[in-house]
Each structure stands twice: as structure tokens, then as C-alpha cells.
Point group: C3
Chain length 231, copies 3
């Protein structure tokens, strides 16, 4: 094994039992790694990071014959900023960047080519698909689903169990996919449904259980199925 393939440990790193760390991983100072954690080759971990038990960091994507969009190869490494906290049973792919002070809850998963901005919260059991950008101080609450090719700006609040889509034709072709765009400080109620390509304006509110089929203007509140401005 040459020098470049070794693991680089900072000061005061604590690791649990049965941990698997592959070559070429970089670990900062004051990092805590739980039991049964798997860290794949190339992953870069900042200072003060906490990683819960049974999590997988830096995984590569898979595909089968049916899959229209093949996942990217040659991903950059997973990069984890300072003071990030990662729960138990989390799966994060290569090609993800988590900025400083991000919190990722238990059983959450984040696919490749996603960026999560400083101090944002990815709740427990949240699943984030590839190529989505999440701003700073965003909250994505428990069990919400963030599709691919979404843009979530700073200070957005997404309640629990929200659902988003990016594919108007539901698997019938290999055209452009576009997830929703959620502008600054917008708030989405629990179990809301957002259709592909819509924009939720700044400071807009989507009510709990609403089904949003077209753009919501800035500052307005939409509720119902289909979603309409509140009376």
C-alpha cells in the first residue's frame, strides 16, 4: 500500500467496534465514529464530526437494465464539513458535500451530487435523490422525500412526510427531469405533494396535505387538492 492510500487520522479520534474504514480516507480532529460504521475510500471528514452507529459513508450508486438514467461514474469523494452530526443507520453517497454544522438524522439517505448548506437539518428517514441543491439553515423534517434536480433555497422549512416529483411522464422517456424549486423562507406543511418543475415563491406557504400542481407566488398560501390560494 502506498502513502496515498493510507488513512489520515486527526487528533483525538474515537472509533467504535467493528468499524470498516477503507484506504485514502481523511479524518479531522475530535471526530467520533460509532460502531459498525463503514467509510468508503476517499471520504473526507472535517473536525468535530460525530457519526452514529451502523452508517455507511461514501457509497457508489448501482443500476439495472430497466433504469433509464444511469448513475454517474467517477464521482468526487464525499466531503463532510466541521461539526456535522450524522445519526445511526444513515447512507450517504460519494459526490455529496455536507457543509459545516449540518445535522443528518437516523436512517436518512443522500444520493450523489447533492450539496447541503451550513446548519441545515436533514431529518430522520429523509431520502434525498441525486443532483439536488439544499441551501443554508434549511429544515427538512422526518420522512420527507426530496427528489432529484431540485433547488431548495436558504431558510426553507419542509414539514414531515412531504413528497416531491421530477418526472411529468412517469418513466416514459429519457428527457429532462426537473424537481420543484423552493425559494427562500418558503414553508411546506406536512404530507404536501409537489409536482415536477413547479416553483414555490419566497415566503410562500403550502398547507398540510395540499397537492401543488402549479407555481405558488411569493408570500401566498395555497391549500387543498388541487392547491388553490386560501380564501
Amino acid at each position: 500500500m502506498d502513502q496515498g492510500q493510507q488513512i489520515s487520522y486527526g487528533k483525538n479520534v474515537t472509533t467504535g467496534l467493528h468499524v470498516v474504514i477503507e484506504p485514502d480516507v481523511t479524518i479531522g480532529d475530535d471526530v467520533t465514529i460509532g460502531n459498525h460504521v463503514v467509510i468508503k475510500s476517499g471520504t473526507q471528514i472535517g473536525n468535530g464530526v460525530q457519526i452514529g452507529d451502523l452508517s455507511v459513508l461514501g457509497k457508489g450508486p448501482a443500476s439495472n437494465k430497466k433504469m433509464a438514467l444511469k448513475p454517474a461514474a467517477d464521482l468526487p469523494p464525499l466531503r463532510i464539513g466541521d461539526d456535522v452530526k450524522i445519526g445511526c443507520g444513515v447512507v450517504i453517497y460519494a459526490g455529496v458535500a455536507l457543509e459545516n454544522d449540518v445535522l443528518v438524522g437516523d436512517m436518512a439517505s443522500i444520493r450523489e451530487r447533492v450539496t447541503v448548506g451550513e446548519s441545515s437539518i436533514i431529518g430522520r428517514n429523509v431520502i434525498v435523490e441525486p443532483k439536488t441543491t439544499i441551501g443554508k439553515r434549511v429544515t427538512v423534517q422526518t420522512s420527507s422525500y426530496i427528489t432529484s434536480d431540485m433547488i431548495i433555497e436558504d431558510d426553507v422549512f419542509i414539514g414531515p412526510c412531504c413528497s416531491t416529483a421530477n418526472d411529468k411522464y412517469m418513466g416514459r422517456g429519457n428527457y429532462h427531469h426537473q424537481g420543484p424549486i423552493i425559494k427562500q423562507r418558503a414553508r411546506i406543511g406536512n404530507n404536501a405533494t409537489l409536482l415536477p418543475g413547479i416553483t414555490i415563491g419566497e415566503e410562500a406557504i403550502v398547507g398540510a396535505g395540499a397537492v401543488i400542481t402549479k407555481d405558488v407566488p411569493s408570500g401566498q398560501t395555497y391549500v387543498g387538492n388541487p392547491g388553490r390560494p386560501i380564501k
Copy 2:
């Protein structure tokens, strides 16, 4: 290590491979512990308990700068009653009490300060937030989301994929949070949405996919978005 920090094993305890049991854990008679299980310090496990592979028991909470409500410190230990069955890939926090004969499905997770009454079922992939009380013989089906500060009385049935909320202002302040209150024997259909602070009366029924924005009286059936009494 002093006497108090040792692990107390009952008779006929079976443990899988690569198990991590921290000091000061108490394990009853006839307990089966799967492979790669992690049991945190202080956890108390009754007689006849079965624990699936890759589960974490007695975890403490985490937080970041963005989080308005900091999680409690100094939690009591996780207490697991007799004959409880816990699936694979489960994460249960310190400060939880599971009464006798509770079943927790695979990949479910229960946060701190939650009580689950005798013979209740927490389905697979169900997530329960802090400070919620769940009665006896309750069924919470697969992938439902139980928010914090909820009260679920005895014999309630919650279908799969239900969503609940506790925060009217969606992350805009540090005021009182209140989840829904579900009274005895009420039944909630799959993928229903319950707003913060509402009460579902005794023997009431919420239809599948309904969005419940105000109280449902005892014995009545509400459907639709927004939920209204059935015609």
C-alpha cells in the same frame, strides 16, 4: 470497572456475532440478541425479549445550531418490558419505555421520552418523535409518522403512511408544540394528514387520504381535503 458498571445477564441469553453491549446494561432471562446489535449504557431489557440484527438501543439525542428545541439531557435509561419483539435495523433512544408484549417492526425508530403501552404494534419504518404517549393495544402501521407531544389512547388504529404535525407556525418560533390527540378506538385511514393540536374523538374514523384541519367528534367519519363529515 466497578460492580455497578458491569453487564447483568439473565439465564438463557443468546447473542449474535459482533454485538456491542456497553457497561451497566441489564438483560433478563430468555433474551435473544441478533448480530451487530448495539446496546447503550444503562438499558434495561426484560425477560423473553427478542432483538433483531443491526438495531441500536438506548441512543442519546443530537442537535445543531439551527434546532430551536434542544433535546433533553440526563435521560432515564431505555426500559424494555417482557416479551417485547424488536425487528432489524431499529433505533430506539434512551428515555423510552416499551411495556410488555410490544412489537417494534424493522427500521422503526422511537425518540426519547416516549411510552408505548402493552401489546401495541409500532410498524416497520414508523418514526415516533419525542414526548409522545401511546396506549395499549394500539396499532401504528408501516411507514406512519407520529410527531412529538401526541397522545394516542388505547385501541387506536393508525393505518400505513399517516402523517401528523405539531407546529402551526412551521419552524418560526419557540412556543408550545402540540401534536394531535387520538381518543380510544379511533381509526385513521392510510396516508391521512392530521394537523397540529386537533382531537380525533372516540370511535371516530378518518378516511384514507383525508386532511384533518379541525376536531373530529366521537363516532363520526371524516373524509376529503379539507376533511368533512361523510354524507
Copy 3:
């Protein structure tokens, strides 16, 4: 240990660290098994299969006093076809058959007596209940819930976060359960809700967030709550 209880390894099998493989497991050629994987007794794995870290294969079901329908005992083994890819943190039960080229995403779970046809995709965090049949080239997207006793025909597309039910009386009796029947090439939008026993016809479309309370004829599109034909 007699001959029949040994593990049968094909050529070119790669296993990660801390793997637990029980007796009587059969593994084909060119199989890759991740770290901390648990493979239960009797499981049959074809050629070219890839298994991610921290997954459990071939688990048996559990029950408690409250559960009306007790799970089957004496299940056949889990059978995994050639070139199947299984993600990280997956739990698959005994009595499941995955045909060739199936892809099972991270954190998905499949209960006993389920068949998944060739080249189908079971997305991340999807939960499939017992006794359901899934055809060929089916896509079930992330976080959808597939209830028991469902029939999903070939080339069906189910978007993310869809919910299905099989129990009209919500836990009040031990009568016949029937999940939805989804005919060939039908497409279901994200976060749709399907009630027990309904049929979605061939090439039919269910809109995102729709609540489908009765049959949808072939080729028609239903939207809204309750679901109605599109104007």
C-alpha cells in the same frame, strides 16, 4: 456439521468484513457481499449478485398478541436471481423470490411470500408487505408503501411516496384482506393513496396526490380527492 449444513460458495465471491453467513446458504459465482451483512440459513443467491453493507437476507417474521393475522411458519428460503443488486441497510424475509436483474434500493424491506419479476426496481426505503406479486420491469419509486395481497402487473410505474391499503375495516376483524390490483403499464403519481381492493386499469394514470376510492378504467386518468376522471 453435516454436508447439507455447510455454506456453498461459487467462484470469485468477495465478502466484506464482519459478515455473518448461517449454515445451508448457497452463493453463486461472482457475488459481492458488503460489510456487516447477515445471511440467514437456507438463502439461495444466484450469480453476479451484489449485496450492500449492513443488509439482512432471509429473516423470519415475528408477531405479538395483538396481531390478528399470524405470519406463516415454514417458509421456503429466500431466492435471489442472477445479477440482482441489493443496497445497504435492506431487510428481505424468507419466502421471497427476486427474479434476475432486480434492483432493491437502500433501506428497502420485503416481507415473506412476495415475488418480484425480472428487471423490476424496488426503490430506496420502499416497504413491501407479505403475499404480494410484482411483475416484470415494474418501477416502485422511493418511499412507496406496497401493502399485502396486492397484484402489480408488468411495466407498472409507481411514483415516490405512494400509499396502498388492504383492510376496509381497519383492524376490526379477521376477514379477507385485499390490496389494490394495478394492471399492465398503469402509472401512479407521487403520494397517491389507493384504497383496499380497487383495480387500476391497463395504461390508466393516477395523478399525484389523488385518493382513489373506486376502480379506474383502462386508459383513463383520475385526479383529486376523491379521485375523479380528469376534465
